[in-house]
């Protein structure tokens, strides 16, 4: 769930857009670097963006009776690293706004910050922090917390825009978190399980390709070693 078109006051919408620009610009530089080094990865990046968009069309069963879709940010960040997720997330959010009427153009900056910047960084950070835990636990933690972080940031953005007249920002923040928690906590747990299953299947079907991208603990260790040797 993203912040809808026109929901934020114009000043907030503009401020979030300005905040998001450096992250997207850094991501674009990273994408350019990857494409220059590996021209064949251009198609793969396109495929990842298309996949992220299509993933949002997969409805997940939710214990509250409603259904929602995975954000895909956790899985994407674990496989491709967070900087690449910022421009890819921006493209996916643009398509969601214009092809699915989900999210918005005026709120694109705010949604990029929650779904394409902070969510992926939190997910990837948790995944790396849990490196001593079993792989499944680390992946589950990263994916579930990337999802939760996205919604905590969305609640924060809304609370900043609409503070409660008597209890202020904190009252408003608690209220928006409470509203989202009804669907998002179960959804984050389900996305965590689904994400681990997805990564497991990918590891067995496309292990060498994933290691080539630097996915997985062994690959990360190998690339770290390569850097050390260099």
């Amino acid at each position: 769930m993203h912040i809808a078109e026109g929901f934020l006051p114009p000043i907030h919408a503009a401020a979030w857009t300005i905040v998001a620009i450096p992250f997207v610009a850094h991501g674009v530089r990273e994408v350019k670097r990857i494409i220059t080094a590996h021209p064949e990865s251009r198609m793969l990046l396109g495929a990842v963006g298309a996949y992220s968009f299509v993933l949002s069309a997969i409805k997940l069963p939710s214990v509250t009776g409603s259904s929602s879709h995975p954000t895909g940010t956790g899985v994407g960040a674990i496989i491709f690293r967070p900087p690449v997720m910022a421009p890819l997330g921006a493209v996916v959010l643009l398509f969601q706004a214009l092809l699915l009427a989900h999210g918005g153009i005026t709120t694109l900056g705010a949604n990029i910050m929650s779904m394409a910047v902070i969510g992926p960084w939190v997910g990837y950070g948790v995944y790396r922090l849990l490196k001593f835990a079993p792989w499944g636990v680390a992946a589950f933690g990263g994916i579930a917390l990337a999802n939760l972080a996205t919604y905590v940031v969305t609640a924060t953005q809304l609370a900043l825009a609409f503070p409660d007249p008597s209890s202020g920002f904190l009252g408003s923040w608690t209220r928006f978190l409470g509203l989202f928690a009804i669907t998002q906590i179960p959804l984050a747990i389900v996305e965590g399980f689904v994400g681990v299953l997805l990564l497991n299947v990918l590891r067995s079907w496309a292990g060498p390709e994933l290691r080539g991208l630097g996915f997985g603990r062994d690959a990360a260790t190998e690339s770290d070693r390569e850097v050390e040797h260099a």
């Binding site: 769930m1 993203h2 809808a4 078109e5 026109g6 929901f7 114009p10 610009a25 674009v28 994408v31 494409i35 251009r42 198609m43 793969l44 990046l45 396109g46 495929a47 990842v48 963006g49 298309a50 996949y51 968009f53 299509v54 069309a57 997969i58 069963p61 995975p70 899985v75 421009p87 493209v91 643009l94 398509f95 706004a97 214009l98 092809l99 699915l100 009427a101 989900h102 918005g104 153009i105 005026t106 609409f162 409660d164 007249p165 008597s166 209890s167 009252g171 408003s172 209220r175 509203l179 399980f193 689904v194 994400g195 681990v196 299953l197 997805l198 299947v201 990918l202 079907w205 496309a206």
Partner: protein, 258 residues
């Protein structure tokens, strides 16, 4: 073939052949009016004008237009609840008292301001989305300095979306036929397999596309870049006049009491 309603409408409407710049002027103008309207008249006039232009002039199917406007409603309703219900000492006349929480007259107005602003802005943006095919929009974005790489990737993403949606629908159909969604446990497993299966297809598809294009001498340039369409001065003048009328109605209409 999997389709997206708004994409379908964008390829099949009377404004498809118009310059993207013309429609951006109209849509951006209406968004500006909706965002800055000091009273309800601004939001209402933008909503009505955008709907009339889309359905009567551009001939976007009413069903598609209704979907485009209703789609953001779930978030708007949820978000508005967070504004309407307040905690702590109520400020203003209490309309509904729920113990620690209450609905006050100012909070009701604040919710109405946001809901109408969001709905009107969504209608203004949907006017552009439902009348302009995505490749045309991306080609225009690609002409903006610094956005070329991003729009190249976005063009690739757009090209791959539909075959992936088709694959996903087929995998899901097969899973359903095999009772893959019979219980919560099997549903979670099926969704995981569906996600992984779609990813593998995206991967394979991208590799084949890359190999095919490399064989044809693809060097990173765009696929078929839509040709630039001339900007109609008359259309821009009408668009500016419509925006000016909406802004005028917005300014002379009653103000929000908050």
């Amino acid at each position: 073939m999997a389709t997206l309603r708004l994409d379908d409408a964008a390829w099949n409407n009377r404004w498809r052949g118009r310059s993207t710049a013309e429609k951006v002027v109209l849509s951006a103008g209406l968004v500006a009016v909706a965002l800055t309207a000091p009273g309800p008249a601004g939001g209402v006039i933008v909503l009505v004008v955008a709907s009339l232009l889309a359905c009567l002039w551009a001939r976007v199917p009413v069903r598609t237009w209704s979907f485009a406007i209703a789609a953001p409603a779930v978030f708007i309703v949820l978000g508005t609840i967070g504004i309407v219900v307040t905690f702590g000492e109520p400020v203003g006349r209490v309309v509904v008292d729920m113990g620690p929480a209450s609905v006050t007259q100012p909070s009701l107005w604040a919710g109405a301001v946001v809901a109408l602003r969001a709905l009107a802005s969504a209608a203004a943006v949907m006017l552009l989305a439902a009348t302009t095919p995505m490749p045309y929009l991306l080609a225009s974005l690609g002409r903006v300095w610094g956005l070329r790489t991003l729009t190249e990737i976005a063009t690739l993403v757009y090209r791959m979306i539909f075959s992936l949606l088709e694959s996903q629908a087929r995998i899901r159909e097969t899973q359903t036929a095999r009772l893959g969604y019979g219980s919560a446990r099997t549903a979670i497993r099926s969704v995981g397999m569906l996600g992984a299966g779609t990813f593998i297809r995206a991967w394979t598809h991208s590799r084949r596309l890359g190999e095919g294009l490399a064989g044809r001498g693809y060097d990173g340039a765009w696929f078929a870049l839509p040709s630039r369409r001339p900007v109609s001065g008359a259309f821009v003048a009408v668009a500016l006049a419509i925006v000016a009328v909406c802004a005028g109605v917005s300014l002379v209409g009653p103000r929000w009491p908050v």
